[in-house]
Symmetry: C2
Subunit: 427 residues, 2 copies
């Protein structure tokens, strides 16, 4: 076993897992390192943040996924550097791991465009902790409004601002609006939750820019029907504990969510290779790190420009395709066969939901919107979940919400009580 070629994969996201999955049976030892013990199904994370799903329904312990693959070792540790000469990876715990081939699939996090001071007041949504933080803030805002006797304060508490109108921003805005309009009204005695304002801000000219204009327009109208105020073409210029400045207009709000920018992991810095503006390592057409032997970079932390000049988008299907491609390339190298040609991304289509009853789907020329698209979206997502148990659990949660209109995962947890938050963030 020790004599086998040793592949080290850093990152158990969509790209890393697809690579390891596709290498089943290859003559390799594989070490998969992640600083989390779980793979996260990012596309549904917004549902954890908005009380629809529980954390365990969108995340799976990585080592459990590979329990039957004896050649795969899972390490829970943080990578802090790479030594391409010694061919080792440095771990935060102090150890090092030697590799024959290294694949960095370390993903991305939110970017605040040079305004990192906005993060505490406008958290992004990348991890399970982010999701429970946002869930707690949304629920606490309603609770504090119920307790408040000051009308201006109550209005600020009942104003929710989502910054960035990609799929995550749109999905968050839709569900928060539904929560306020349909789920919560009968539970409060001093406030009318239907008075809550949900504002979706987008600096670009339209929401869901990855979709064609008619679908993007449809999504906007659907959101507005749910009561969401959509403001496009105007950037956010300040975020504070008191509210947000949209262009020149200050909007008092106690709950901001950041769904705008993306910053790649420091993979390019570890390797000392050039990166693009978002910090993504610029890799060759075969996803290799230029000038560094046996190192590849895939997923959201890689910048790949295809032969036709088009960049590969930073989405889950692209990362998975890169994982599959790299598995083929590694198998070819191991067996001395010629390597496959350059990586080519195949766009399978785009999906987004708006609230509980509408979705938009675009597969090339095929376009679909409305309730039927919503069902297709749901079925597709259940299909992509890992394991029978999760599929049943998520299907049950959705069916329950669909039938009863009641969200179940509405727990305020972590040691931040209603008073602590007040004292930290000002009244």
């Amino acid at each position: 076993m020790q004599d086998l070629h040793h592949l080290v994969v850093v990152g158990g996201g969509f790209g890393g897992l697809q690579l390891v999955n596709s290498l089943k049976g290859a003559p390799l030892r594989i070490t998969l390192i992640d600083r989390r013990n779980h793979h996260l199904f990012q596309p549904l994370l917004y549902q954890v943040a908005t009380t629809v799903l529980a954390t365990s329904e969108v995340a799976w312990p990585i080592r459990h996924l590979y329990r039957h693959r004896a050649e795969v070792t899972t390490l829970l540790d943080e990578v802090v550097g790479v030594d391409p000469v010694a061919k080792t990876v440095q771990l935060g715990g102090g150890g090092t791991v030697a590799y024959d081939t290294l694949v960095l699939a370390t993903g991305a996090t939110h970017a605040y465009f040079g305004h990192d001071e906005w993060e505490p007041v406008a958290p992004g949504l990348k991890t399970l902790e982010d999701a429970t933080t946002i869930r707690r803030r949304i629920l606490l805002a309603f609770e504090r409004a119920e307790l408040s006797s000051d009308a201006a304060e109550r209005e600020a508490l009942l104003t929710f601002v989502i910054i960035g109108a990609g799929p995550t921003g749109v999905e968050l805005a839709g569900i928060i609006a539904e929560l306020a309009q349909r789920t919560l009204p009968e539970e409060f005695r001093h406030i009318d939750t239907r008075q809550a304002k949900v504002i979706l801000v987008e600096a670009g000219p339209r929401i869901l820019a990855a979709f064609s204009e008619p679908l993007s327009d449809y999504a906007r109208r659907s959101l507005e029907k749910l009561g969401v105020e959509v403001r496009t073409g105007v950037p956010v210029t300040a975020c504070t504990a008191e509210g947000v400045t949209i262009g020149d207009t200050f909007v008092p709000s106690r709950t901001l969510v950041w769904a705008a920018g993306v910053q790649a992991s420091p993979a390019a810095r570890w390797l000392g290779i050039p990166c693009d503006r978002a910090g993504r390592a610029i890799v060759g057409p075969d996803l290799s790190a230029p000038g560094i032997a046996d190192v590849f970079v895939i997923g959201d932390t890689a910048s790949v420009i295809q032969e036709d000049g088009k960049p590969v988008p930073g989405i889950a299907p692209a990362a998975k395709q890169q994982g599959t491609y790299l598995a083929r390339l590694i198998r070819a190298r191991l067996s001395g066969r010629p390597a496959p040609g350059a990586f080519r991304y195949w766009h399978q289509g785009s999906l987004a939901t708006i609230g509980r009853r509408a979705a938009i789907i675009e597969f090339g020329k095929f376009k679909l919107k409305g309730a039927f698209a919503w069902w297709l979206w749901g079925i597709a997502h259940i299909y992509f979940l890992i394991g029978t148990r999760s599929r049943f659990a998520v299907a049950w949660s959705w069916l329950w919400i669909f039938l009863s209109g009641q969200h179940s995962a509405r727990l305020i947890t972590q040691r931040e009580t209603i008073q602590q938050r007040e004292s930290r963030e000002g009244p």
Copy 2:
């Protein structure tokens, strides 16, 4: 509505909820105050700590439970005092709430018998956060053992000590042993999780002292069959980050769980009335606070000695019976009818599980043990859960574990990484 008699209930545990439920239709305004937004099904909390259930399967937002009862107002706030002369309750947020009748059902927390410094290294199990903390520690111990190259360190990491052998301690020990013996072995490459030691320590002469001796013996043998080391008749004399001292013997361990003592909430102090050693307010035979008009104390924070001299035990069924009794008493007072006689506790029986296949049940003379008892235990607990959704979800989780042997809720969350814990608690 404002002219109606105003009942304030503090605490949304078993006692408080039962009281509010039993007062349905009574000519009252009710305000229910809790510092958590959820009711917690404590008897299953150990299953959250041991990766069997998700947090949202054992907790429900309180205000959701009373959405159809317009006369019930739910407040998320912490009570910090009572003024029995002005007849008001002081809230941590600064406000006060006036009452006509006040019921304190504020429960209890763990007690460390004057050793509060043990709490950080030996957390108890009372809240959802406690459960996720213990779950994280258990899972991180295995992860760190997998990374460690030091044999002594590995042994300490794979030693789990549960202090206190009541139902919670026994249930925790059983499930941790099963996790190590059956669920985890095939997922690790450098350690054999079956080498893990689970030690259950009890200062008293036997485990599950509430049960008769034959059942208590059976439980002990069942635990030992699962690989749990049971040590009775010997107290814990020290807990540190390095391990635990049991009598005079030091046992290196990185994961301690406290399931021993109980300390009542400060209800007696708020009222300035006498309390017992555990801090429970000593109340009259009708659960009233002696010498204070219109104030009652129920559940784990009340000490009730019945006419036959027997104390009422601090368990969920007793709290619920007190809630029902007090509802009758309040209805009688409102309508000018004579008050019911003294509160009498009716012991319905005791249940405890040992691991995944055995349980013991004792209803007076009726005794049952083994697999059939386990099924009865499961059905009884599903019956007592709140709401169709949770019953289905828990039944599905249990069925899945029963069929597949795989626990699903194995997520390490909260911002305590493997390194942070090391640096905080020493290597």
